[in-house]
């Protein structure tokens, strides 16, 4: 039983890089897509395909990457990812709220595609930023 668990864990460690690569490629595709959307304000076939593929790669490998799945559970990674995404949630709500404030009296004009691109961009960039920060730091240092 113990041997089986160890073998399974070793197999999961071997495939972990694949999930990591898939998640980062997906996130990179989504970030590039959202940058193009913000920049051009248009949504064409290439962006649509990039968005679909990026989202599929990211979401499907996300739970494996952060270690939420029982087979690949990594307490440190789960703690770090949860905290990073929590902070990203706050950053995203505040950034989108700020964009709404800028729209007052039409000081800044943007269309729906640009607004959507901005929301996606802020959400992904802050999530990856906090994830990289806490991963680099090693662990959270919450008070005991």
């Amino acid at each position: 039983m113990e041997g089986n668990n160890q073998t399974k864990k070793a197999e999961n460690t071997n495939t972990a890089w694949l999930y990591k690569l898939s998640m980062f490629l997906g996130a990179a595709a989504l970030i590039i897509d959202s940058l193009v959307m913000v920049w051009t304000g248009t949504f064409d076939d290439y962006i649509f395909v990039g968005l679909l593929l990026g989202l599929m790669c990211m979401i499907l490998s996300f739970w494996q990457y952060i270690g939420a799945s029982p087979e690949t559970r990594d307490e440190r990674m789960l703690r770090v990812s949860t905290y990073a995404i929590t902070l990203s949630w706050f950053c995203t709500v505040m950034a989108i709220g700020f964009a709404a404030i800028l729209a007052y009296n039409m000081h800044v004009q943007y269309n729906g595609v640009q607004a959507m691109g901005f929301a996606l961009l802020v959400g992904l960039a802050t999530m990856l930023g906090w994830l990289a920060y806490y991963n680099n730091k090693g662990d959270l240092d919450l008070p005991d």
Binding site: W89, A99, A103, A119, L120, G123
Partner: protein, 129 residues
């Protein structure tokens, strides 16, 4: 501050935010009253939620876990729903083009609604497994 007071503040401020966002969404313009209501509401919501999440205090481990997991799931749900909305717009299934302001209102509403949904789910469940 007591937990029940925080809960009341969260409920009232969330209502203010939702009403102001719906107002802006349907009128497709942002006026001074809706702007002030939105700004005050969102500051209170974010402030109360960060207290709920107890980022700097270890008071209630269960509550912190529930809030953090709800936010994580809310983030993933919101990104997925927003991307689906983009796809729907692209395929023109809806037949209506949203303006920038409407998209922003929708994004904030989706993030808050999915958070409350997950929070209610985990609170009812008791703890994170």
């Amino acid at each position: 501050m007591r937990s029940s007071t925080l809960e009341y503040i969260l409920w009232i401020s969330s209502t203010v935010v939702f009403v102001s966002l719906l107002w802006v969404f349907f009128l497709n313009r942002i006026g001074l009253i809706s702007l002030v209501a939105f700004v005050i509401g969102i500051i209170l919501v974010v402030g109360t939620l960060s207290r709920y999440n107890q980022c700097n205090s270890p008071e209630d481990e269960r509550m912190r876990k529930v809030a953090a997991f709800s936010m994580m799931n809310s983030w993933v749900s919101a990104v997925t729903l927003l991307a689906m909305l983009l796809a729907i717009q692209y395929l023109n299934w809806w037949g209506y083009v949203l303006s920038g302001l409407q998209v922003i209102c929708l994004a904030i509403m989706v993030m808050l609604i999915t958070f409350y949904g997950w929070f209610a789910y985990y609170s009812k469940k008791g703890d994170i497994e």
